[in-house]
């Protein structure tokens, strides 16, 4: 029952290409996240799976069956919209009941299912209200309830948390994880928030400009980014990337010189332009000079309790470092001594950004 996008291309009448040879497959029961910046095509991919858009070329399959031209109502999928899309003229109860009503479920069964769903999402007291009387968070839960009440095999969610405030977003995220575990259905979740993606997904598909850049578990995406783009998109703050050249045993980027004595992997292009990547939390910052460190000046000290983020500069190169403990006396303007541990280094091609190591 694999769900698959096979070589999907989607161009719109105005000429924009939303998806370009988009190819993705996943198994039922997964919580798949489509992650990417705005305009990357993630919403379009979701809508094509739903049947609300048809691809210009390529096909969509479920369990080997081509469903590219099947109407939405015959696909066994439901959707939670970013704007919730509740029926303004129906009560909350009627909203949630609608998919069951359409499928001619008997009245007592509808009653039971709606109440059960409402209890699961803690919105029982809202059942008699109308959408315009609900807050954002409440409306969102109603939308989720409506999407899950008839137990579809696949539930699609198009940026459902984007319109909620930060606190609510966090709370609802946890609820969605719980629901997924309880109902054991396939969830496909679209978001631009990488933190959300890492938290929710069993596997994450990172998109850029209509194509999948990497598809893997949160761990893989975080620790083994396939391209520079992924490294720069994931993380809070995201990974540092420094453009420079390898010359002999050194990596040079302007005034910044990192000694590579006996360290670089064989696949690296020797003596050529390359991009060095390192995550802020992997950067070691010392107050005193130590062997293998480079001197850098602190520009900004940004406290994010319990950690501290330092914005460092050396010549034209800027870096972010995330420290659990700030060395004594370090303030804006101080000189610190930075080491880039070998194990945390990531190397990307100067052209195209593909991971080299």
């Amino acid at each position: 029952m694999t769900i698959a996008y096979r070589n999907i291309t989607k161009t719109f009448p105005d000429g924009t290409t939303a998806l370009d040879r988009f190819d993705l497959a996943f198994e039922p029961g997964e919580f798949v996240v489509l992650l990417g910046p705005s305009g990357c095509g993630k919403s379009t991919a979701c809508r094509i799976l739903a049947g609300l858009e048809t691809p210009t070329s390529g096909s969509v399959e479920v369990g080997g069956v081509d469903i590219t031209h099947t109407p939405p109502r015959a696909r066994g999928m439901s959707m939670v919209f970013q704007s919730y899309a509740l029926y303004p003229h129906k009560t909350v109860f009627e909203n949630i009941a609608y998919p069951l009503q359409v499928r001619r479920t008997p009245r007592p069964e509808i009653d039971r299912a709606v109440k059960e769903m409402a209890a699961m999402l803690q919105i029982e007291r809202l059942l008699a209200r109308r959408p315009r009387q609900l807050s954002g968070g409440e409306a969102q839960r109603v939308a989720v309830a409506r999407a899950l009440v008839w137990r579809p095999q696949i539930c699609l969610m198009d940026e459902p948390l984007s319109n909620l405030d930060a606190l609510l977003r966090l709370k609802t995220r946890i609820e969605l994880k719980r629901l997924h575990a309880e109902l054991q259905k396939t969830f496909v979740f679209v978001t631009h928030d990488q933190e959300e993606a890492l938290s929710l997904g069993t596997r994450i598909a990172v998109l850029n400009r209509g194509a999948i850049v990497q598809f893997g578990t949160p761990h893989e995406i975080y620790h083994q980014p396939a391209t520079r783009f992924v490294a720069e998109f994931i993380g809070k703050p995201a990974a540092n990337t420094i453009e420079g050249r390898i010359e002999g045993e050194e990596f040079r980027a302007g005034e910044l010189v990192v000694s590579l004595a006996g360290r670089h992997p064989a696949a690296l292009v020797v003596d050529g332009p390359v991009v060095l990547g390192i995550r802020p939390e992997a950067v070691e910052v010392h107050g005193e000079p130590e062997p293998g460190t480079v001197a850098m000046t602190v520009q900004v000290v940004d406290p994010v309790p319990p950690d501290t983020i330092l914005s460092l500069i050396c010549g034209t190169v800027t870096l972010l470092a995330r420290l659990q403990r700030l060395p004594d006396g370090v303030r804006a303007g101080s000189i610190v001594h930075v080491r880039f541990p070998e194990a945390a280094l990531m190397w990307f091609a100067a052209e195209g950004g593909k991971r080299l190591d």
Partner: protein, 332 residues
């Protein structure tokens, strides 16, 4: 000193410099201050009063005058009836002694019911077709609007021309298609005239219903429709469960608007048949016209006119409520 006061202060300083006379200074400053206050706080009354005043003089005054007239026997055609007070005589005559008035009421009700109901169905249906089947419906609308933009009198003239017994274009083709008999005159037959009038009204005003319905349909939010598709609903289901309920407030408002206007119908009927043949097409407004401006029975005519006003006023209140439901320009 705030920016506003700086402005007026400068104006005052200028005028003072020009005037050269110290005693004037205080007066000018006062005048400037007064102007400023008026321009600020006096805005409400100053802006509203002229309009309200004009309407009071043109409408409200005459309205009360109508009520007053209704208690007199004023008539330009009967000597001695110069407006003497006659109490409720006119009202008694209306309620007990004027079958023609009540006939015109019945005729008007039949006219309104038939034309408005058919216009709503045809107009909304056409809007649905436009919204669903035509790529750029708004580009097509101007072509459809012509009938409703013509002066109603001209509409009457137009149809009188094409429905002429002998050489009217439409009568000719209707006869050729076998839809009417050789010797029927649509406007000259007391059994057919009112139906013909209804048909002309439908021709004239269906575009209005189409125009407004289309605007409403195109303004409906998309997400609930997509949600319904995901929830499993087919096209027919979506129409009855989503489209119609969401369109209901607007359709109610259009219905009331057409009802009020159809109730007041005068121009084209006046020109086409003048109320005839006999009184088969004598709508209320035509009857009131006849009483007031043919018979010049102005006292009694005022009562008739007042009755029409009353009905419209009630419909107006209903319309105002429907407008609020449909999201109209009600003050917040």
């Amino acid at each position: 000193m705030g920016p506003r006061r700086r402005l007026t202060h400068r104006v005052v300083e200028e005028s003072v410099r020009v005037s050269h006379r110290p005693p004037q200074r205080r007066l000018l400053r006062l005048a400037a201050r007064l102007g400023e206050v008026l321009a600020d706080r006096g805005m409400g009354p100053a802006f509203l009063l002229p309009a309200v005043l004009l309407l009071f003089i043109i409408l409200v005054g005459p309205f009360f005058y109508t009520i007053f007239l209704g208690f007199t026997d004023l008539s330009y055609s009967t000597p001695g009836h110069d407006g003497n007070f006659v109490g409720l005589a006119n009202y008694r005559r209306l309620l007990a002694d004027d079958p023609v008035f009540w006939h015109s009421v019945a005729t008007t009700l039949r006219f309104v019911a038939s034309s408005v109901s058919i216009e709503m169905v045809l107009g909304f249906g056409l809007a649905l077709v436009l919204a669903a089947q035509v790529r750029r419906p708004r580009a097509v609308m101007p072509l459809l609007l012509v009938p409703m933009m013509l002066a109603p009198v001209a509409v009457g003239l137009l149809w009188k021309l094409v429905l002429q017994g002998e050489f009217g274009m439409v009568s000719y083709y209707l006869r050729k298609l076998g839809l009417i008999a050789e010797d029927t005159s649509l406007l000259g037959d007391s059994h057919l005239a009112l139906a013909t009038m209804v048909m002309v009204d439908i021709w004239q005003w269906t575009p209005f219903v189409t125009l407004v319905s289309l605007a409403g349909l195109l303004g409906l939010p998309r997400p609930p429709f997509e949600a319904a598709m995901m929830d499993g609903a087919g096209r027919v289901r979506i129409f009855f469960d989503i489209t119609l309920p969401l369109m209901r407030p607007l359709l109610a408002m259009v219905l009331l608007l057409r009802t009020i206007d159809a109730f007041k119908e005068f121009d084209k009927v006046f020109l086409m048949t003048g109320g005839g043949p006999g009184i088969s097409t004598e709508l209320l407004s035509i009857y009131v016209y006849r009483v007031n401006f043919r018979n010049w029975d102005l006292g009694y005519g005022a009562v008739c006119a007042f009755m029409v006003y009353l009905v419209v006023l009630i419909l107006c209140k209903l319309f105002y409520n429907a407008l609020g439901q449909a999201g109209g320009s009600k003050p917040t």
